[in-house]
Symmetry: D2
């Protein structure tokens, strides 16, 4: 890459995955609207066709109205071609197909275990991790070989497991994991401030927070807007709305869209623990003991959040693929819309174009002193020229420690299981998961059934 005219040209980005289209298009949009950086994006996906389509769509951005910087997109057939010379690597893959995810999410239902997402924790998250870890081992080794100095941004779930694997396999890697769930909570808090204090138009970045925990079970231990302490205001809000949920009305609510909720879980957790749970309700619920929010479908209904079925996801994808076809054929015009994600801002910061502080997932090196070193945690971090340094977030509060410490331990065990190809360790993790409250024999049957269902992606394990 080359620094010129207060910007950087010829940046090379390797995009691993992206076949599911959504994330890729968002990135294209954000890149095209960022004036001072340009270069090329090499698209690698195990579905080469998908990459090829993204190439066509990506290159269309150059003629799209509002384009401020021109990026070249090129689909490549091998990961080494994508990585060689890369300055940045973005990973956003689906580990396996929706068929495997179908098993992850729905097989446990036969034993009364319901999962609202099933990609991060719980039975589904654990089995997904087992097939993801070997993929990430390979990616890490390839990065070590082809672009050891590149910055690596992970978007794949299970987030903590992916980032953990990258660092365990290649400790010198410059990787971090990004997730927008905390942003969503900041937006929610700005709605709270509007509702409670009548202050309108607060941008999420203006909600200053201290973040700690693990991805999708992240907590805000301090939240300020200017000199206003948001905690007492949020407490009041929760006392009003926790019982009924906070709904915007209109079509776009949790009853029609299984990605949404009425934030009852989030508010209930605040009233229990006095700290702000900072992720969507569907994610938060899965980290709690089954009897909290996922006891059964009627409890979920009562708590006003959705169980995202894989059929729903398949339909969702089908729509995106149709749109992809239209974009490829030119029938539909690509339009820019800012994603609100931090990815491109982080790239600019790492290039030294402007500093930023945002929450990311990194191995614990003391940013959370009362969790073990090496587990992957989410906290704020400072992004500057070629560096990401976590901010000292402080101890996990006593109220949250029993759950959070157990969950980081569970994730560590899963990563070891994947790296050592040790199914017994994975089953230990499985049994310790808060959603798995079924008798031992049932747990055993369920676990092996889930492995069996996804055996295609688990050939490196013996079972």
């Amino acid at each position: 890459m080359e620094y010129k005219n207060n910007g950087v040209e010829n940046i090379q980005i390797a995009y691993i995955g992206g076949g599911s289209r959504g994330w890729a298009w968002g990135l294209m949009s954000d890149l095209a609207m960022t004036e001072d950086i340009s270069g090329s994006v090499l698209l690698y996906d195990i579905d080469f066709e998908a990459a090829k389509h993204n190439e066509i769509i990506g290159n269309r951005t150059k003629e799209t109205e509002g384009c401020k910087s021109k990026w070249d997109y090129r689909a490549v057939a091998s990961i080494d071609e994508a990585l060689t010379g890369a300055d940045f690597v973005i990973i956003s893959i689906l580990p396996g197909t929706f068929d495997e995810m179908y098993s992850d999410v729905h097989t446990p239902e036969k034993y009364g275990i319901y999962q609202s997402v099933g990609d991060t924790t719980g039975p589904g998250g654990i089995v997904r991790a087992l097939r993801t870890i070997p993929m990430y081992e390979e990616i890490a080794l390839n990065i070590k070989k082809y672009c050891p100095k590149a910055w690596v941004i992970n978007y794949t779930n299970p987030m903590a497991v992916c980032v953990n694997t990258l660092y365990k396999v290649f400790p010198e890697i410059k990787a971090f994991g990004c997730c927008h769930e905390v942003f969503g909570t900041q937006k929610f808090l700005s709605k709270v401030l509007k509702e409670e204090l009548g202050i309108d138009g607060i941008a999420r970045e203006e909600i200053s927070t201290n973040v700690l925990g693990i991805n999708h079970f992240t907590w805000i231990t301090s939240a300020k807007y200017k000199n206003i302490d948001i905690f007492p205001i949020y407490k009041n809000f929760c006392e009003t709305h926790a019982e009924t949920g906070y709904e915007n009305g209109g079509d776009d609510n949790w009853m029609n869209n299984s990605f949404l909720s009425a934030d009852r879980v989030k508010m209930d957790l605040f009233l229990r623990y006095n700290y702000i749970a900072a992720a969507g309700d569907r994610h938060l619920a899965e980290f709690c003991k089954k009897n909290y929010y996922l006891e059964n479908p009627s409890r979920v209904q009562e708590m006003k959040f959705g169980l995202t079925s894989v059929d729903y996801r398949k339909k969702d994808l089908a729509k995106r693929l149709e749109r992809s076809a239209r974009l490829v054929s030119g029938e539909e015009k690509f339009k820019f819309s800012a994603t609100g994600e931090d990815g491109v801002k982080q790239i600019r910061a790492l290039l030294g174009l402007s500093d930023m502080v945002t929450n990311v997932n990194l191995p614990n090196n003391g940013q959370i002193p009362n969790l073990p070193k090496g587990v992957v945690v989410e906290t704020n971090a400072v992004f500057k020229a070629d560096s990401v340094n976590p901010v000292l977030a402080g101890n996990i509060p006593d109220e949250l420690f029993p759950q959070l410490s157990s969950l980081v331990g569970e994730q560590e065990l899963v990563v070891r299981a994947g790296l050592e190809k040790n199914i017994q360790l994975a089953f230990d993790a499985f049994c310790s998961d808060p959603l798995v409250d079924i008798p031992y024999d049932d747990a055993y049957k369920l676990f092996y059934k889930m492995l069996e269902n996804t055996r295609k992606y688990l050939s490196m394990y013996e079972f």
Copy 2:
């Protein structure tokens, strides 16, 4: 006290509690059979009558056959009288009465939560802790006032909570907590060695172990007999016996004595985690998720251990009280029998008469590096003249970390609840307990019902 003739005379021991007789008589026996120390024991119990009876029985030891050292026993009416001038303080109280314990153990059964002991963890342990902590606050303050340099030996449950409270209230206290559950496991391992290798007569002290964890959920991570690594031998033993249990036959088995078991839990835990669970099955089961071993009474039956009912305890006590009456009247003669406990040996070591290494409960100051500082843990420690120093036990193994970290967090929360008189924190701990897998509303009702039942001892809390 006075050092004379290679021994120590005029030692003063304050014995707080002991109304239940059993522990007190054991101590009397051990003291009388130890040649080189002598002195007086001041007995303080809220039931003065009980202390008075112990005084009479204790003083009888001087004329009992086999007495090697003469100790004077004296019941006192106030704790300050007991503590003033004390070199050692032994605490062994029942926090509340069996009526409160009845509620602790049996109220949860209405919600399908069965407890095999109910005095350490689980709903019963937590509520018991709430009434114990204020008592221990008072004891700690009295020790600070009347005998700040005395060594304090705790036998009361919940062990970790008691020791934690003593240190939080008076950080300079010289206290530790003793428990014989690890000893029992060492004895079990010596049976294993007999069974598997035909080696007979191994004393428990000859089983060299590294111990870590929390009281009653303690683990052995290394066990050697001479140059023999016991782990593979125990593995073989468990593979043979875990399914059926290991029973001695005869009357004295778990079906007749609810304090006993066939060690199925212990062996099952070994086969799951590859570390030796080192406590009685009844204790171990309570720290695991309900679905492991305490799902329901038939699961308990199948796992061949007992649910100790409080009625059983009451009968047990009644027998001891009858025996007490006979001993007081002289109808029955006191007979010495070594308890196998380490208490008197520890006293000798602290007096500088001989060093020893044994497992005790102490605040974590790094002996278990991956648990937070300050939580009370059980590891080996070196006892020498006026000092107890924990041995570095190493990290909690990954396999056990999810459970153990959560449990130490739960105990820390309970101690804070007790010291801050904050019922909400106690309820947070209650909800995070692995036995409490019932819906939130039920948990709430159960918790407050249990508080209500024991309100007499909870007047310092608001609820």
Copy 3:
């Protein structure tokens, strides 16, 4: 204070000290040139006259050309008046007078110990600390009483000792210490980049650094300008210039101004350790063993830095006082010039008006994992609405650990000496100081002579 029109009004700042004028005027300038904040500054100095003069000069800023925000200045006669209602407290005092400082700096010369500054470390720094700590104890107690929630910014030396004392006396204090020495090094590095690469006009903020160490012996372990790693460039520069020094020519060099240097020390330290020493040479030299750079005046001359005499300081002050008189009388007009300090930017950030990352002094809570907790260290930190969170700076590199660990230990000992009024501990620290390489008896005589000379400010100690 009041948030209005995207800014904050009615902010109340307590300024403790400032009698020496320089710092106070700089702040006045920076405040007046910052559009979106306004309020009042209460000036408290033990020399009320000095505060009064600053009041007059400060209030003149409102009519000065270029004034963007109007601040009211008011001298107050007591510290409680200054602190009551304060949102921010700025502390910039001279502990004692230049007479005491004369003893600090020059008495050791009789024993062959030369100090280039004498206010932070070495014999002078230690004795200065002994009179500073009791003053800071009192300030901390007053802040606890009158404005416990105020943000406290310390500029006084010895910096680490002052900040340490504030936190030891009032652990909940929201205090940090600021120093511009790292900024100076960033400026120096931008000169290096110009010299070596021909890149002109790099602002110091564009030099992205990782900072760690203790105040005035701070180190940069990573320095980037955009994608350029500055280390190899700086190495080349040092290899060229370390022997002769880097001089700008002109009048403003180290031979005429004892505050300046030719950066030989800085470059020599880089060549020794491969990390960038980030403070002025006069400061750096004092933390090294005497035989490195302060062996004797001719060594100092050879290394091209100055020994700042207290006479020089007195003259410097006299000039400022003359200027003060002219400013008070109106003979001279106050003119604004940006100080380049971060103080006012930090205030804006703490008010939530814009985030920033800069280096500050804070107790170690893990930002430097291989130094003990609680010692005061300098690292980067994130400033946001009502919060300062240190960035994880990483371990002290092995090459620097022998010196830095010893120095933080020395400072800790001095703080304990001051708080416990224990002269023996201070003498232990004195003897361990790297400049004190004289025989024990001489060290003893020197130490007590220095105490004697400054007894007026040491009445709380017994000696």
Copy 4:
């Protein structure tokens, strides 16, 4: 090996080194007088002749009066022969010859740096370390290859550097380092108790201590004899004797024997820091700043300890070699005398024959919480069947931290220098050493002169 008749037979010990005879004969004596263990000792020395002589002498023990167990001795020509099948490895080598040691000890004298021992720290210790580390690298690799499960006991100096190297090269090694200096201090304390309290005949093991620090600069932070706190008694003793020294009279004093002292250093250190320095004065002095005790020969004379010259050592060795010849020829009869060392007791403990607690050198894994992990420290440890676990010794006291932290840092740097073959790091360590207070240029010349003098053993380094 074989467990039989309450003992162990056929133990195989590899003895690496021993050419200097003294240590080897002591071990032979201790082994022969220990009833319940027997086996063979394979002697490997680079001087095969020396090993051969030891073989002859060792085998004579079997016919010596008082022999309780028969050990076979056999000299072997290669290290792999010695190690293959070894249960224990004892390492006691001289790294280089007395010619190299002559340079280590006496070259610095030309620059005014006097060393009383010169084998552990200071210029001599550092250069000795540089030639020792590659030897220990090779030994560690051989142990890994030939007997990875053997217990390794190191007696070679520089102790900490040797043990550190073994662990860095082969982290799974079961090694520890033994030194009798603390024992000597315990004996000294028993003399103190006799002198001050008239208590006679206290064995050193009865002085119960908490030990921490680094080898040869070890400290006792708590010392009890029964219920007697030795600290105030020792303080009184030091106040009486520190000025003049404590001498036994007779021939065997420091004036005639350069290995002895009048303990003035030890007592002076107590009066300075209130902790008991626990090594011989000659060792202690070398870890302090030069101006403390080693300023010049007259200061040493005044402090009443000896500078052991290498000529003295050569003469000492010559005498042992003469005796060796007499023992080999049979002219002189071997006689047993207990060494008072713990080596054989440790072997028995590791065999599971009886537990023991003693001080040893091990990597810090938290036994001293405020020192970095991984540096080699000396504390008490528990020896049991196949395990050595350090006892939690607590933090280095504030008073000692500046010196001790710097010294462990220096040693770490030396080990890295040796392993990375990086002379610059060694020179950094050299410059930071407290004895090196000479100007930089002189330090540079001295260092390279010392390297030059010993180049024969430093061929793996570039300089």
